[in-house]
């Protein structure tokens, strides 16, 4: 059987922002249909890596391909769903107006608006102004925008921050289901236990890739029984 095509190919990626090196020669690949967790302490470069994959962060050297194309190519703009760490939606529009505008810009069918509202369980808020929603509700609107049109690659920056355990579990089930259907999902998170639901973990520290393997391997390698401890152990070993 031929290996599945690669959704992300990063090779010796280096990003320098204002004279400080944020990403140092990162290399990894992600196969289509994988659910990958991107972990790392605050400031380790997770958001910068994600923004590089979207083509909104200038790459200093090295290369990055998404879905086979060089990142930032116009053709990729309707094929990657992105949820930024800040909610990036209009506070003075309703949930439905937000989704309808972004759906229009993406050129996807308007039925996607209702569909994505159901996925993130927001249909009962459709007519509410975003400024009247709680933080967790706003981040679900932002996630819904990323899901519009069912893009083959999803890049989600801390999508479960500020959500309760039930919603987090539901969303991780959604991510797993999307990956099962062939969508490649790259999710960053601070919460180790939920990240352990991923098929694979990438651990960043100060712009270096410390670990790239399955959650089970993380426990085995560090000889710990909780993911939190394993994370701390790996970080400490490196410093």
């Amino acid at each position: 059987m031929a290996p599945p095509p690669l959704a992300i190919e990063v090779s010796q990626l280096r990003v320098v922002r204002q004279h400080s090196v944020i990403l140092k020669s990162l290399s990894f690949t992600v196969a289509a249909g994988e659910l990958v967790g991107l972990l790392g302490p605050s400031g380790s470069g997770k958001s910068t890596l994600m923004r590089s994959l979207l083509g909104v962060q200038t790459i200093t050297s090295g290369s990055a391909l998404a879905l086979g194309d060089k990142v930032g190519t116009p053709a990729l703009r309707r094929r990657i769903g992105y949820m930024a760490q800040s909610s990036a939606i209009y506070l003075d529009l309703t949930v439905r107006e937000n989704l309808a505008y972004f759906a229009g810009v993406l050129g996807v069918d308007i039925s996607q608006v209702e569909h994505t509202m159901h996925i993130v369980n927001l249909h009962s808020f459709a007519g509410r102004l975003v400024s009247s929603l709680s933080g967790g509700e706003r981040s679900r609107v932002s996630l819904a925008v990323a899901l519009l049109g069912a893009p083959p690659l999803l890049i989600l920056d801390e999508p479960t921050v500020g959500l309760d355990p039930v919603l987090r579990r539901d969303l991780w089930q959604t991510f797993a289901q999307l990956a099962g259907d062939g969508t490649t999902v790259l999710v960053s998170s601070h919460v180790m236990d939920e990240a352990a639901r991923c098929g694979r973990l990438l651990l960043l520290r100060e712009g270096n890739l410390l670990f790239d393997d399955t959650p089970a391997q993380l426990l085995a390698r560090t000889r710990m029984d909780s993911y939190d401890e394993a994370f701390v152990r790996l970080i400490e070993e490196a410093s």
């Binding site: 922002r17 204002q18 923004r51 979207l54 083509g55 909104v56 962060q57 200038t58 930032g72 116009p74 703009r77 309707r78 990657i80 992105y82 930024a84 800040s86 909610s87 990036a88 939606i89 209009y90 506070l91 003075d92 529009l93 309703t94 107006e97 505008y101 972004f102 229009g104 810009v105 993406l106 050129g107 102004l129 925008v145």
Partner: protein
Amino acid sequence: MSLRRTWLTMRRILQQLGHDPRTIALLLVVPSALMGLLAWSLVNRPGSFGVLGPRLLGVFPLIIMFLVTSVTTLRERTNGTLERLLTMPLVKAELILGYAAAFGLVAIVQSALVSTLSYTWYGLVHQGIPWRISAVALCAGLLGTAFGLALSALAKTEFQAVQFMPAFILPQLLLCGLMVPVALLPTALRYVANVLPMTAALHAINPLQSTSYYLEQFCVMVAYIMAALFIGSTTLRRRTK
């Protein structure tokens, strides 16, 4: 470039305004009330309102649209929606023209209301043709919008954006001929005044000039609008360093 995405962007900006009735009220009521105040303050000087009133019809939209646009676009830059849009198949020109269309429409409604009130209730008598004054008001609104789009790139906060108003508008108010006729300015300032967009707006309102004179003034305004929109679009960067 797609007309559909420009239209959607314009509609989205108007929807945002629509959810903010207080801003709409301010956009419509403030210039109308100011014009009424001006008319009232000049009741004992017959003929003065006929000179000053039309000039203000050109100045109000410029100031108000400049403020509204620079704050709205700055918000778009800081809340992350601009970055999100630029990861989507939206062309910069579509966003810029969407803004120009939305606020241009607001400027039309605003100036239609203010000039209707002026010609009826406030008793404005002016030897110009009302439609020319409306055209100037529209151009002035678009000038404000275009410069607001361009200058908002220089501001990091809404506070700074508002500070650009005195820096950008007040010098024009001083030099455009509202306070001192341009012909009486010192030579160096006269050269500056003659190329300012607000001066062109005021010249275009002057009664009793030739058609070619008016055409020239409109051309100056349109050139400024295009240039500022172009500069505004170059400040939208898909990539950050």
